[in-house]
């Protein structure tokens, strides 16, 4: 049912635009140009399948709409904005970085930087409080495995 509705919506949109298309003189639009825009959009029914490869009827209609818009001389951004306004922001492959959705973009870098700062502080503290006796380089693996110790010695001698 939803698919049918979306199909009808798309058809209505198509008819509205089609008048514009006929009124203006656009050059021929290739499938590749349509796909370049479609790749960046997701239809609300077939979630997680980009529009350029989605085989459903509704998505075919959407691609037709994109084609009409391109023929009418719309820019990529205009078309994306149009779909976002019509069907909600979920049609965009990634959220915009304004309003609430800015959180999706800024939280991971903040978390990673905070983690890095925390780790740095932890290591500084650990190194400062470490006994000075540890200043001789050694190999923990070598301590456990006599074979590796021999190997490492051998490597040392070759240098």
């Amino acid at each position: 049912m939803r698919r049918v509705l979306i199909g009808l919506f798309a058809l209505a949109a198509f008819l509205v635009v089609a008048r514009v298309t006929w009124a203006q003189d656009g050059g021929p639009v290739t499938d590749d140009e349509v796909n370049r825009v479609a790749k960046q959009l997701y239809c609300p029914v077939c979630e997680n399948i980009p529009l350029d490869v989605c085989p459903t009827q509704a998505c075919t209609q959407w691609r037709a709409t994109i084609r009409e818009k391109l023929v009418a001389g719309w820019s990529e951004q205009q078309i994306k904005d149009y779909f976002a306004a019509q069907y909600g922001e979920r049609v965009l492959a990634a959220p915009t970085s304004d309003g609430f959705t800015v959180l999706v973009w800024i939280i991971p870098p903040i978390a990673v930087i905070a983690g890095a700062v925390g780790l740095w502080a932890f290591m500084r503290r650990a190194v400062q409080s470490a006994p000075t006796a540890a200043s001789t380089p050694s190999d923990g693996e070598a301590e456990i495995d006599p074979y590796l110790a021999r190997l490492e010695q051998e490597l040392e001698r070759r240098r």
Binding site: D31, N48, V53
Partner: protein, 681 residues
């Protein structure tokens, strides 16, 4: 009859799990060897009972028992036998049973192990595993019962129940709806079991970790005991991820192998924390450090494994994978929350006892490299997790659903992955405790020079994208340092033992499986990274409508549309199959058959690509559309995926390395015994 037998064994399995849990708790409070033995046997029984239950369901699936709701949902008369067997995990209820069955297998094996040295851990291990198993079996019994029969009410409605509800008549479907076509692929037969095996096997190290906490054992013995479990679980999880990628590439028909789909993320996230865990336990084993952190990682991995199952099984997201949806979400959510809080509470109780035996001696050391590795793994985990759950958060907060797709993950996780691969090349060169910068510089010199030459050659060949150049530089450097590790070891061995190169390298690896297995895994990652850089930066695509005899060009390839046939297959699908000739540099290199299958029972189309593979690239053709009448014109979408086969080759190397690292090793056993001896200051 079979349905009741299957259901009864489910109920008995739950009873065993509950009995084992309760008895083990009693034993914890008041030690009793006989009661513990009884709990152990009860914890083993669910494996036999769930095996019986699964066999019952398979028998029902194979023999067209369409009075069973699940059978009618996932099979149809036209489906071949092997697909009916795999339909066991083709739908919600069956896959939960399958999950529980695999888990009972793992816990069963754990119960059979020799418990001489760590018998005091057993009660808590039984509690942790049986609570998890009981939860899943309970879900299968009470919420998602694959054995439920169908009944028709007087209003014509179909309800599912084991026993006949009042005012209903038995109902049998004429034919089933059939398995989702996306799942009718060899890759799908093997991919979910691998992933599930990977998921369930992490329950064992988690259970041992909890038992160690409960018994206040602060040494690394729980890590050594579960090392092989962890590696085997990790092996299956990795295999599941690689096979999933291959399946997506072969079946989903969008020219790629990884789409950052929430369900893909659900299986990647526990893999990330498990990988961090595999690395950081080495510090605990060698230096007695990071005890708390390792506990955190295994608790996180366990929680994320359940969370992954929750994401795929609860229908909280709808995506290509979430075939089934039901109301089990809140239960899962509560289970994850409760187990997480209890685990963390246990950890905090022991917080002060889990002090490090040693200190970090230098900022430039193997220890600090491992810490950085953990930071990056956890950073990627957090980023991917955040992106995966953000649409739900957005929906709750603003009421608007949004898509968090590939652009987000590429920008946020991409650089972290690149840093991780770079670290992977440098870290093994750092000495434990304290490394010297000069020594590091000396060891990096040759690989660095080689990597610069690679970059110069690539620039000369016309590769100018800075991102791609950075990616190839990192892979060349890391590949170089890793190969050099083998060369150094082999050369030293040849000198000391006067062996030839072949014998030297095999002895070297045989005596240090863990170390060199790890390096082979790293080489696999390098190969995968090369493939990822190639496909991410240089994938080309084009689409066009051709009439027979017409051609289209992409890169060095020319494709000629020759013909198209439409025919019915006996498994009730209509196939439209095109024949295209492929030419490379003017030479005919083969014929491809891209096709579109339409499954009547489930009313779903499938786009199967025609692919010509070589080490250099894949020429990947999709049949997008065609004219039904006369079948003259057809629209094709064509991808050129450079270096994509390096990913699959890298996957094989990766798995090989894991097998080498996990293979039982007499030497290691001796070392473990030595290390277990109390030598702590």
């Amino acid at each position: 009859m079979l349905a009741f037998l299957g259901y009864l064994s489910l109920v008995l399995a739950l009873a065993c799990a509950i009995y084992a849990t309760v008895t083990a708790i009693v034993v914890i409070r008041k030690p009793d060897a006989a009661a513990l033995e009884s709990a152990r046997r009860a914890a083993f029984l669910p494996f036999l009972l769930l095996t019986l239950s699964s066999l019952c369901l398979i028998a029902l699936l194979v023999t067209e028992h369409f009075e069973i709701g699940y059978v009618a949902e996932v099979t149809s008369r036209a489906m071949p036998i092997y697909l009916r067997v795999t339909a066991l995990w083709g739908g919600q209820a069956g896959s939960l049973l399958f999950w529980a069955w695999l888990m009972s297998g793992f816990t069963g094996v754990a119960m059979l192990r020799k418990w001489d040295e760590d018998r005091e851990l057993m009660p808590a291990v039984i509690v942790a595993t049986m609570v998890t198993l009981g939860f899943f079996v309970g879900l299968v019994i009470f919420i998602e019962n694959p054995f439920a029969l169908m009944w028709q009410t007087t209003t014509g409605e179909i309800v599912q129940a084991m026993l006949q509800p009042a005012a209903t008549l038995p109902f049998t479907a004429q034919d089933g709806r059939g398995l989702n076509p996306l799942l009718r692929h060899p890759g799908m037969i093997i991919h979910p079991p691998m992933l599930y095996l990977g998921f369930v096997s992490f329950v064992i190290p988690y259970a041992f970790a909890m038992a160690a906490l409960w018994n206040r054992r602060t040494d690394a013995s729980w890590i050594q005991t579960t090392r092989r479990w962890t590696l085997v679980g990790w092996l299956f999880l990795s295999l599941g991820l690689i096979l999933g990628g291959r399946w997506a590439y072969d079946v989903l028909g969008w020219g790629g192998y990884w789409g950052w789909d929430p369900v893909e993320n659900a299986s990647l996230i526990p893999w990330l924390t498990a990988t961090a865990f595999l690395h950081s336990v080495m510090i605990q084993e060698k230096r007695g450090m990071l005890k708390k952190w390792n506990m955190v990682l295994i608790i996180l991995t366990y929680a994320l494994v359940i969370f992954g199952t929750f994401l795929t099984r609860s229908g909280v997201l709808s995506s290509v994978h979430a075939f089934a949806q039901s109301a089990i979400g809140p239960l899962f959510f509560a289970f994850i929350g409760i187990t997480f809080v209890i685990s963390m509470a246990l950890l905090f109780r022991e917080w002060d006892h889990l002090r490090s035996d040693a200190q970090i001696d230098s900022l430039l050391s193997r220890e600090s490299a491992f810490l950085l590795n953990n930071l990056l793994f956890v950073g990627i985990t957090a980023s991917v997790f955040w992106g995966t759950i953000f649409p739900m958060i957005s929906e709750i907060v603003t009421g608007q659903k949004i898509t968090v797709g590939p652009p987000f993950y590429n920008q946020v996780a991409g650089p972290q992955f690149a840093a991780l691969v770079l670290l992977m090349g440098v870290a093994p060169l750092l000495a434990w405790r304290k490394a010297s910068a000069q020594q590091l510089g000396r060891m990096l010199m040759i690989p660095f020079a080689v990597s610069l030459v690679v970059v110069i050659v690539l620039v000369v060949l016309g590769i100018t994208n800075p991102g791609a150049l950075l990616g190839f530089w990192i892979t060349a450097l890391v590949g170089g340092t890793t190969v050099l590790e083998f060369v150094r070891g082999t050369a030293a061995r040849m000198r000391t033992s006067r062996e030839n190169a072949f014998v030297a390298i095999s002895t070297l690896m045989a005596r240090n499986r863990r170390r060199y297995g790890g390096y082979i895994i790293h080489l696999g990652v390098v190969l995968i990274a090369i493939g990822v850089v190639g496909t991410s930066f240089y994938q080309q695509e084009t689409q066009g409508r051709l009439t027979p005899g017409e051609q289209m060009t992409l890169g060095r390839y020319v494709m000629v549309y020759e013909s198209l046939d439409e025919f019915m297959m006996e498994d009730n699908r209509q196939v439209a199959r095109a024949v295209v000739g492929v030419y490379r540099d003017g030479q005919r290199v083969g014929e491809l058959y891209p096709r579109r299958d339409f499954y009547f029972d489930s009313q779903q189309p499938m786009t199967i690509p025609g692919v010509r593979s070589s080490i250099e690239d894949d020429f990947y053709v999709l049949l997008v559309d065609w004219e039904e009448i006369g079948a003259s014109g057809a629209t094709f979408k064509v991808y050129l995926n450079p270096l994509v086969n390096w990913i699959w080759a890298g996957g094989i190397v990766f798995i090989l390395g894991t097998l080498i690292a996990a293979w039982p090793d007499a030497q290691e056993r001796r070392r473990t015994v030595l290390a277990a001896a109390p030598v702590r200051p």
